[in-house]
């Protein structure tokens, strides 16, 4: 929405005093434990910094590294991944997959110059509202110390667009669906045969 709110915002919206860095952190939570822990923190009125914005997944096993990279690419300063404690996954064992993806992703983002501290894994059961709140506070402070990540915006370049339709009218052909791209070297692949 970057390009959509040119009008000056109401002053009330400016909460971070000029100069102070308020990190924005995307948090992925598991529907069964950490998201409920967040709910619990709320019901118990536990206070934590407002820097984390949570996304609910059904399970930490749903966590696709794409989501994490996307968050950075969209300007997030850090990503918090949370799930049920190892051995207590609502789906029996999926949080182990999350753990492995997390560890591999840690190595890759480091190779891309992103501090490991910007990708954190926190286990929190549905009963651990306070724990989650504390972890969020901790992560926020650590990221504040790391400073902004500020990954550049992807496509601010104005592509000089070109009307395919116009071009097509000029060549005057019909417009049915695309020709099926050949499935490659194996036309008698059962899947092809099945068609």
């Amino acid at each position: 929405m970057t390009t959509q709110a040119p009008e000056a915002p109401a002053p009330v919206e400016v909460v971070a005093p000029a100069g102070t860095f308020e990190p924005v952190i995307i948090g992925f939570t598991c529907n069964w434990c950490s998201y409920r822990a967040a709910d619990l923190a709320g019901t118990a009125r536990v206070k934590y910094p407002p820097n984390v914005r949570l996304i609910r997944l059904m399970c930490s096993g749903r966590l696709d590294p794409t989501f994490v990279l996307k968050a950075y690419a969209e300007g997030a300063d850090a990503v918090l991944v949370s799930g049920c404690h190892p051995g207590e996954c609502h789906y029996i064992e999926q949080n182990y997959k999350a753990m492995r993806r997390f560890q591999l992703l840690q190595r890759t983002i480091e190779a891309l110059g992103i501090e490991p501290g910007r990708l954190q894994l926190v286990w929190a059961s549905a009963a651990e509202g306070v724990r989650l709140a504390n972890e969020i506070a901790r992560v926020t402070e650590e990221v504040r110390a790391l400073g902004p990540l500020n990954w550049p915006a992807a496509d601010l370049v104005d592509l000089d667009t070109f009307s395919l339709e116009k071009a097509w009218e000029a060549t005057g052909g019909d417009v049915e669906g695309p020709p099926k791209a050949p499935a490659g070297a194996n036309p008698d692949h059962p899947k092809e045969a099945a068609k």
């Binding site: 929405m1 970057t2 390009t3 696709d64 590294p65 794409t66 994490v68 990279l69 996307k70 950075y72 690419a73 969209e74 190892p86 064992e93 997959k97 753990m99 492995r100 993806r101 560890q103 591999l104 190595r107 890759t108 190779a111 891309l112 110059g113 992103i114 990540l149 990954w151 550049p152 915006a153 992807a154 496509d155 370049v157 592509l159 000089d160 667009t161 070109f162 395919l164 339709e165 071009a167 097509w168 009218e169 000029a170 060549t171 005057g172 052909g173 019909d174 417009v175 049915e176 669906g177 695309p178 020709p179 791209a181 050949p182 499935a183 490659g184 070297a185 194996n186 692949h189 899947k191």
Partner: protein
């Protein structure tokens, strides 16, 4: 524009029906323009392999020559930029750009050709996702130049570096500037079609060209904007003859560490990090068929946002370990994650490169 318009999935709308331009009635043959459609083939930062792959369609090249009036193809014939500049906008029917956007010259010419062309095709891995040159995005420009101009093989005692503007007696010379970061074609201009591969397989090229020719003749349908031509929608495993079982990986090995691999069984199952599961099919699984792991030159499968992320997720998911230290031990088998997962797709990936590359801001 909304952020989604910026997001990669938006950029590859291929599979979605609504991508099709509103249906138009087939125009009568008489409506066809008399002159032969014009074809331009431009190699930006590329190794030339793409051009060879095109020539490699053998005698079909003659049919291409017959079907098109080739206005630019520096590799095989003389051509002047000025001729292109002189053309009407949209005069060129179709332009194939191979190679990536590495200098401001290539950027400039790509924009020029875009303006002059009806259809712009990102041809090959470099143009579509950055390819091997894209790995330069792991390093700041300065370091790249330092390395290039001060290696032992370089005789450069004064440590001279290239300048982009040079005052010669004849006047100021402008040299193509090596840009801070390498970009893919679609990060610079609007791209209509993409033909993946490093290089694209010749028969696939021919199939794609045929489709275009047919479309131009009005005898075939026009592929919707954003289509990936000359490749499948699945991944290499789809074409791989190796026997596959459920995956349980307790180690990753590098190809030189193992004397011989079982010729029948999936390489990944033998611990060799094969990118086949995540790489778009179309090559005919050439590498795995000779016991070399797929390295991913055909890029991501249909609708995938970030090739490396998908592959990481897949590998990590099938690792046989539950303790952090065990997991780490196995992951040590992949010493260069960035290279393993982004060998071809780094420049086209969500993050495009390393932080140091863009933070150095050109210096």
């Amino acid at each position: 524009m909304s952020p989604t318009a910026r997001s990669k999935p938006a950029a590859k709308p291929a599979a979605k029906p609504t991508a099709k331009p509103a249906a138009k009635p087939a125009a009568k043959p008489t409506a066809k323009p008399a002159a032969k459609p014009k074809l331009a083939i431009f190699g930006a930062a590329s190794c030339g392999g793409c051009d060879i792959a095109i020539v490699n369609i053998h005698e079909h090249i003659l049919e291409v020559a017959a079907a098109f009036d080739i206005v630019l193809w520096p590799t095989v014939m003389d051509g002047k930029y000025s001729d292109i500049e002189a053309m009407e906008d949209g005069e060129i029917t179709i332009t194939l750009v191979s190679g990536s956007m590495r200098t401001d010259e290539t950027v400039h010419l790509s924009k020029l050709l875009r303006r002059k062309s009806k259809f712009m095709v990102a041809f090959g891995s470099c143009a579509s996702e950055g390819c091997i040159p894209g790995l330069a995005n792991l390093t700041p420009r300065k370091e790249i130049l330092d390395t290039a101009f001060s290696t032992s093989s370089t005789d450069n005692p004064d440590g001279i570096r290239p300048v982009w503007e040079f005052e010669a007696p004849e006047g100021i010379l402008h040299l193509p500037e090596f840009e801070p970061m390498l970009r893919t074609l679609d990060q610079v201009v609007d791209v209509d079609y993409t033909i993946p591969g490093c290089p694209p397989e010749s028969e696939q090229i021919w199939a794609a060209l045929q489709a275009v020719v047919a479309a131009l003749k009005g005898t075939g349908p026009l592929p919707p904007k954003g289509s990936i031509l000359g490749a499948g929608e699945s991944t290499v495993c789809d074409e791989c003859a190796r026997k596959r079982d459920v995956k349980k990986i307790d180690r990753f090995v590098r190809i030189q560490q193992v004397a011989a691999f079982d010729p029948e069984i999936c390489l990944l199952e033998q611990g060799l990090p094969c990118n086949g599961p995540a790489t778009r099919n179309g090559c005919g699984a050439l590498c795995p068929s000779v016991s070399a792991p797929c390295i991913g030159c055909y890029g991501a499968a249909e609708g995938v946002v970030d090739y490396g992320a998908r592959l990481m997720s897949a590998y990590a998911s099938v690792i046989e370990a539950t303790k952090p230290e065990e997991i780490d031990k196995i992951l040590d088998g992949i010493p260069d994650p960035a290279g393993q997962f982004y060998r071809f797709s780094l420049a086209g990936s969500l993050l495009r490169g390393s932080r140091s590359a863009w933070q150095s801001d050109g210096e």
